[in-house]
Symmetry: C2
């Protein structure tokens, strides 16, 4: 097996899919998995087969790949802007059940202009900043005002509310969403969907009484950030980077053939660039593009040149994006190489 | 023009190529550009046309793409290990002038075993750790000992010494290399090549009297890390990420459609994830995969939703790796999309 390589254990994947679905069913919320983590149509189909009502994509390019593979209910959680993108969006809306999000009037206006000539209106959810500090209207009142704008624009249908909540403070996010929905319904605006998201808050699913669906992505593979956060165990991590020790320049330094092109530079607040399963007390202290530098000061482990080691990445979604192809390990031990067909879709 | 997109100004590229070549010729050192920055065969050919004696690659996959495109003198600055990789290396050595580096006896032994049955021996340079702290033998004496091992192994030819020197302390690195070469020549070991590298030390080229060739990569595009280090100006940066402002949630926050999948999370010791040419005082304070968060607190600039902005990335080599295709801007203003054919070659 040539390294570096991303190997995905299908036993663990299936267990993770089943666990999310069961958690959601227990609290009566539907699932709409985010495909950004795996970027693989066959895994999206597996999530649907387990009970998901549809999938989530972040970019049109991802949704196009998924639609080509037969996925027919997609939410793109993004402000879509620009003539070429709007044309691609319209083409996509003709062949699947499509929804998008929006957090400002200029985007709503442009969506409306593009879709007013189409046979079907485009479903739009208001993106709400419930504390994560990225996109989103800033208050329930702003959500209400934008909802009213969208409800009156030709070519659009108001579908409801969407948020990516902050890691902590789930209860506050729930109050935010409940207030916004109340304002909408009091004004006679439809709000059939309240879409919540995230893997780290799966333990808090029951707190989100307002949510009708949950978008989680990372749960299917899990990663070191989730292990460190106490959201899963090392055994729940399905995707592992295999790397070879190519140099042992000193007693306390080992160099592997996986650098930032395989592991990414994402730290997510952690120390070091991944967890070495063979030696959790060894530190991946530096990455250049094709080399990883391991400091052996805090471990008695002394790998040899040629040893293959396995690393749980800090942030698995970005790692999926770096590999043109990955290796599946099936329950019977069989290895299969698959192309990551929705990777690299930045637009 | 759809965003995010990496746009490369060919005027600046040609100027940068000419400048490196002129600097090297002035001090009498040959050039062997590292293609990791552009990953494009046509640019490698342009570097050769300007006077380079060959190119440098980091992985066999990159060298295969370059050889397919007619590049016929390649140094792979990497310890190659593993049966599949050795077979690929042997196939490559049959069709081009190929050299590799090595810093330990197990790798030398494996290279020898694979190449002793081949018609031509493989050229091997000893990788020397002159202070950068990654791969490399740790002293001139170690370099000498490994050189003697390689010189006596069947299937291999000792080609000389190679280093990636530390950013500062060029003079120390030169002393290191000069000592090692002296030890080799005193033992009657051949050392026709001393290969030095790096863009940040191009101003110090004259200090490296021992070097016969210089491998620089980033100079062809340049980036924010080199601007901040005082090695070039913003006008010397050929590769710029174009992004669209998709949200203005608050007066002091702007969100763009370029995240870590377009700009990468590489900081290289800098604050923020890139330099906005339209507002150098605005801070790109956070990236998620598809969103960049700009803090406008320290700037009077207030971009609108739909504005396209241009960003000089912190580290351009990793950005090249993230785009399946990039856009060239030719001197006559014509835009051309080209596939980055050597991107994603992790093995």
């Amino acid at each position: 097996m040539e390294t570096p390589r991303l190997v995905v254990d299908m036993d663990v994947v299936d267990r993770n899919i089943a666990r999310f679905q069961a958690l959601a069913e227990k609290v009566g919320v539907k699932t709409r998995p985010h495909i950004k983590t795996h970027k693989l149509p066959f895994l999206a189909h597996r999530q649907i087969a387990a009970g998901a009502i549809g999938i989530t994509c972040q970019k049109i390019g991802e949704a196009e790949v998924m639609a080509d593979a037969g996925l027919d209910d997609i939410l793109i959680t993004y402000n879509i802007l620009g003539q070429e993108k709007l044309d691609r969006l319209a083409a996509l809306a003709r062949r699947i059940r499509l929804s998008v999000t929006c957090d400002n009037a200029p985007v709503a206006q442009a969506l409306s202009e593009r879709f007013s000539g189409e046979d079907k209106p485009l479903r739009v959810l208001i993106e709400c900043d419930t504390g994560a500090g990225r996109c989103g209207v800033q208050s329930p009142v702003e959500a209400h005002d934008l909802a009213r704008t969208i409800a009156h624009l030709p070519g659009l249908t108001l579908e409801g509310l969407m948020t990516y909540p902050p890691m902590a403070a789930s209860a506050d996010a729930e109050i935010w969403l409940a207030q916004a929905r109340r304002l909408l319904t009091e004004s006679g605006l439809s709000c059939p969907v309240v879409s919540n998201g995230g893997t780290p808050n799966l333990g808090d699913l029951g707190l989100f009484k307002t949510a009708t669906e949950h978008r989680a992505g990372t749960y299917i593979y899990n990663d070191r950030s989730l292990v460190t956060g106490g959201h899963c165990t090392v055994a729940d991590c399905a995707a592992v980077v295999h790397a070879t020790v190519i140099s042992r320049p000193t007693d306390r330094r080992a160099i592997i053939d996986a650098g930032s092109k395989a592991l990414s530079s994402d730290l997510l607040g952690l120390k070091g660039f991944g967890l070495i399963r063979e030696a959790p007390d060894a530190d991946i202290v530096g990455l250049s593009e094709e080399h990883g530098t391991i400091d052996l000061t805090n471990t008695s482990w002394r790998p040899r040149v040629g040893d293959i080691i396995t690393i749980i990445p800090n942030h698995v979604c970005v790692v999926s994006n770096l590999f043109d192809a990955i290796t599946l390990r099936h329950p019977d031990g069989r290895l299969e190489e698959v192309r990551v067909s929705a990777r690299g879709k930045v637009a």
